[in-house]
């Protein structure tokens, strides 16, 4: 039939797809390249930078930030943002610290679970407020921090009051891999698999990509939004336990300002602020980059002020690059399409 013939010459558009995948790779390889350059430069200036102790510090710091960034990425993919993670981390660290101080026999695994549950509860609260109360998690940032101050008062939990086993967990390794890093990797792997390979994960991307279309497609938007906040909260709670184990010293201000570092890590790692795209793997790389930058500046004896400026520049660069690439891709797609 003639009709078939007329339809055939339209649409052959493999090329834009190729552009897309290269872009995503470009973002991640860009971060890797920046990391290599940064590390190489710093190492030539100060050889101690590559000492076992220094690398271990970077990895432990990254692990905590990456656990938070994975949770944040999950929320941001749904076109939301969880600004309470720093407060949840602080609350969880203090709560678990108090628990261990008063009950020296509590095993580490129970401490971890306690953090997860406490954080998860805060996350559900956030999710319900965001979804049904239409208020952003900014409120809980202050509210939870307030609870923490109220509870902790001026007191501080010191390392010498915490069980030996717990502190060991924060600083020791199994088969050469620190426990904290191992936990970070497990979180990253599970989140990657769920986001890529399960309906629930794909629905989160769909919700962020188009909220109205998600409702019409029969996706349970409320349930999924709350679930995303629950995961982010639970991971922040977990990060609080890791924080307590690593530093041993906890006061009411623990984790203050972390939320912005976490959002920065996710954005630098390619998670779109407007939802629908990005990976937890990218967000974790972002966390690594930010931690390495902080560490390099310290080693190079550069004013801490510069760290803020550099992180700011990186965010601008990341968002700018996204915009540029998006418009390029859009143009490429249009060109191909109109080639009738």
């Amino acid at each position: 039939m003639n009709a078939t013939k007329a339809a055939t010459p339209r649409r052959r558009m493999a090329a834009p797809q190729a552009i897309f995948s290269t872009v995503f790779k470009a973002r991640e390889s860009g971060i890797v390249l920046a990391l290599i350059l940064l590390i190489a430069f710093t190492a030539t200036r100060n050889s101690r930078f590559l000492s076992a102790q220094s690398i271990r510090d970077i990895l432990l710091g990254t692990a905590i930030l990456a656990v938070l960034a994975v949770g944040q990425a999950i929320v941001m993919i749904t076109r939301n943002i969880d600004l309470s993670v720093g407060s949840v981390l602080g609350l969880s660290a203090f709560a678990v610290g108090s628990l261990l101080r008063d009950n020296q026999g509590v095993p580490v695994i129970v401490a971890l679970l306690a953090g997860l549950v406490l954080g998860g509860a805060c996350g559900v609260l956030n999710g319900v407020l965001v979804r049904f109360g239409q208020v952003p998690a900014l409120g809980t940032l202050y509210a939870l921090r307030g609870v923490n101050y109220l509870w902790a008062g001026g007191q501080q939990i010191n390392a010498d009051r915490l069980p030996e086993s717990f502190l060991d967990f924060g600083n020791q390794a199994i088969l050469g891999v620190p426990w904290l890093v191992l936990i970070g990797l497990v979180v990253l792997a599970v989140a990657t698999i769920v986001l890529r390979g399960y309906r629930a994960g794909r629905e989160l991307y769909a919700m962020g990509s188009s909220p109205q279309a998600a409702e019409l497609a029969g996706i349970k938007v409320s349930r999924n939004t709350i679930a995303a906040f629950l995961v982010s909260g639970a991971l922040a709670g977990l990060a609080g336990v890791l924080f307590a184990a690593r530093f041993g010293t906890i006061d009411a201000a623990a984790g203050t300002g972390y939320e912005l570092n976490v959002v920065a890590a996710a954005v630098v790692g390619g998670v779109a602020v407007f939802g629908g795209s990005g990976t937890v793997w990218g967000a974790s790389l972002g966390a690594l980059l930010l931690t390495v930058i902080g560490s390099c500046l310290a080693v190079l004896d550069i004013n801490q002020f510069w760290q803020q400026a550099i992180v700011g520049a990186l965010i601008l660069l990341a968002i700018g690059a996204d915009r540029l690439v998006a418009s390029r891709v859009a143009r490429a797609l249009r060109k191909r399409d109109s080639h009738v």
Partner: protein, 505 residues
């Protein structure tokens, strides 16, 4: 065509449903049956309540009173998910895709085929999407993201999505507005197959030739009320229109005879790489020139380049002999040109802003006093134009998004007419709007031409092209291939030129 007896029990029955939004009754006491194995047309002017009925069936809205009866038992859909689970699939008028996700994922979202450990089976997702596209006879790369698809392709993805849901009731809310003839034919073949397999189809369209080609039964609605339900063979098109409008329509295409004046718009050698080339034409004062051709032939791209929204690689555009700067809509507007775009939701209106703000947007500079906009002048201007266009709305301060499609289109027109243009470019001026509004838009275009405005119209609707245009320019594959004066323009001559040699071979 032989019509099977649908049997006594309908698959789904709409029973005395009503739905109000605030004080406005969108649907009042409507009942009609949908039979398995039958395609049922729902017709009515925009604002007659068709889309509200669709949304109730889709689980988006709950009826205030009345019930939906599925397989003899009342159902109450609390969410779109419940309607989907009951076997109802909807192709919405406006595509509802996920721009960041692949075409294949868009199609299977919410019901991904799963394999080992409950994980998504990617190969099966791909295969399902490709299978659906081959049923529809189109080739779209299923791995590409939905972002950047043309409106026609988006609509095809919507159709594939609904087909993939294996629906017992398939609702199509103006699915063909953006499609080319070939694609419409394909869609109807597939819909026909579904119907023979025992699915019920509800079809909404403003094109009567499509309704008579596809459907066996037709329900007419007017002002939110049920007018009639009949077998389609018992009703002539004239009778359908009369029932929809509630009065006899005057001639649908009231083009007044106008003696064309001086040349106002001159386009010479316009080209954009990979899109169109060698575009030269002129439009005189008082003339309506139509730019016809298949979807994708480059018509919209040409007018966008003329107006300066898109860049051009070569060529010139002159308005009253004055050369316009390329790529500057601002310069085009200052010279007296106006463009009413094809996609009113995306390009024509700011949905969240008020009617008056939208109408006055291109002239906010001229209306402002000391850089501020004051309510009085804005309201006066907006009222003048919305009245001339007989726009129906509650208050001028209502958001444009709350209006029906036809009235939205009138606001876009009002917005550009308020700039008092010498050249008016309209891209699909009556797409997706009802017969009554259509006639008003046509009358208005004709009146403007009589006042000496040069009108350039892009249209996919042949009757509109033939009825309104003094001259028809036909585009194919990015070039103007024919120019036909009004006297010689017929359905055959225009289609032949638009299809080109392929149709002849």
């Amino acid at each position: 065509m032989m019509r099977q007896n649908p049997g006594p029990a309908p698959l789904l029955e709409v029973r005395d449903v009503s739905k109000s939004f605030g004080a406005v009754a969108a649907v009042a006491g409507v009942s009609f049956p949908l039979y398995a194995g039958e395609a049922h047309a729902l017709v009515g002017e925009n604002g007659a309540g068709k889309s509200t009925i669709v949304k109730m069936l889709a689980g988006v809205h709950r009826p205030d009173t009345g019930t939906l009866v599925l397989d003899g038992a009342p159902v109450d859909f609390g969410s779109p998910a419940e309607a989907r689970a009951a076997g109802i699939a909807v192709i919405y008028q406006e595509p509802t895709l996920f721009p960041d996700l692949s075409v294949a994922e868009n199609i299977v979202m919410g019901r991904h085929p799963r394999g080992r450990l409950g994980m998504i089976d990617r190969a099966a997702v791909r295969a399902e999407a490709e299978g659906l596209f081959s049923r529809l006879g189109v080739r779209i790369d299923v791995e590409r993201p939905a972002r950047g698809l043309s409106i026609a392709d988006q609509q095809i993805v919507e159709i594939a999505k609904a087909l993939g849901a294996d629906a017992r009731l398939l609702i199509m809310d103006e699915p063909t507005a953006a499609l080319s003839l070939v694609e419409v034919e394909r869609l109807f073949t597939v819909a026909g197959t579904l119907r023979e397999e025992g699915a019920a189809i509800m079809f909404i369209s403003h094109r009567f030739e499509e309704i008579t080609a596809l459907c066996q039964r037709v329900t007419v609605m007017r002002d939110g009320r049920h007018v009639s339900t009949d077998p389609i063979d018992d009703l002539t098109v004239e009778e359908m229109v009369r029932r929809m409008v509630g009065r006899d329509l005057d001639a649908l295409f009231p083009k007044q005879e106008v003696e064309p004046g001086a040349v106002v718009l001159e386009v010479e050698g316009l080209a954009r790489q990979g899109v169109f080339r060698d575009i030269s034409f002129s439009v005189r004062a008082g003339e309506i020139v139509a730019l016809a051709g298949l979807v994708g032939s480059g018509r919209s791209e040409v007018v966008q380049a003329v107006f300066g929204v898109d860049e051009r690689d070569a060529g010139s555009v002159r308005l009253k002999g004055k050369r316009l700067r390329a790529g500057s809509p601002r310069a085009a507007m200052a010279a007296g040109m106006a463009l009413v775009p094809e996609d009113r939701r995306q390009q024509g209106l700011l949905m969240d802003l008020s009617i008056e703000r939208n109408v006055n947007l291109p002239r906010s500079g001229a209306l402002a006093r000391l850089g501020f906009l004051f309510g009085g002048g804005e309201r006066r201007e907006a009222r003048r134009w919305t009245e001339r266009l007989r726009t129906r709305y509650g208050r001028l301060s209502d958001a444009v998004g709350t209006l029906s499609g036809g009235n939205q289109q009138k606001v876009v027109l009002a917005k550009w007419l308020a700039t008092d243009p010498r050249v008016l470019i309209v891209d699909e001026p009556t797409r997706g709007i009802d017969v009554g509004t259509k006639a008003e838009v046509h009358r208005l275009m004709s009146a403007l031409a009589a006042e000496g405005v040069a009108v350039l119209m892009v249209s996919s609707e042949l009757p509109e092209v033939l009825g309104m245009a003094d001259r028809v320019l036909i585009m194919r594959e990015g070039r103007i291939v024919a120019e036909i004066p009004r006297a010689e323009a017929t359905e055959d001559s225009v289609m032949f030129a638009a299809m080109g040699q392929e149709a002849a071979a």
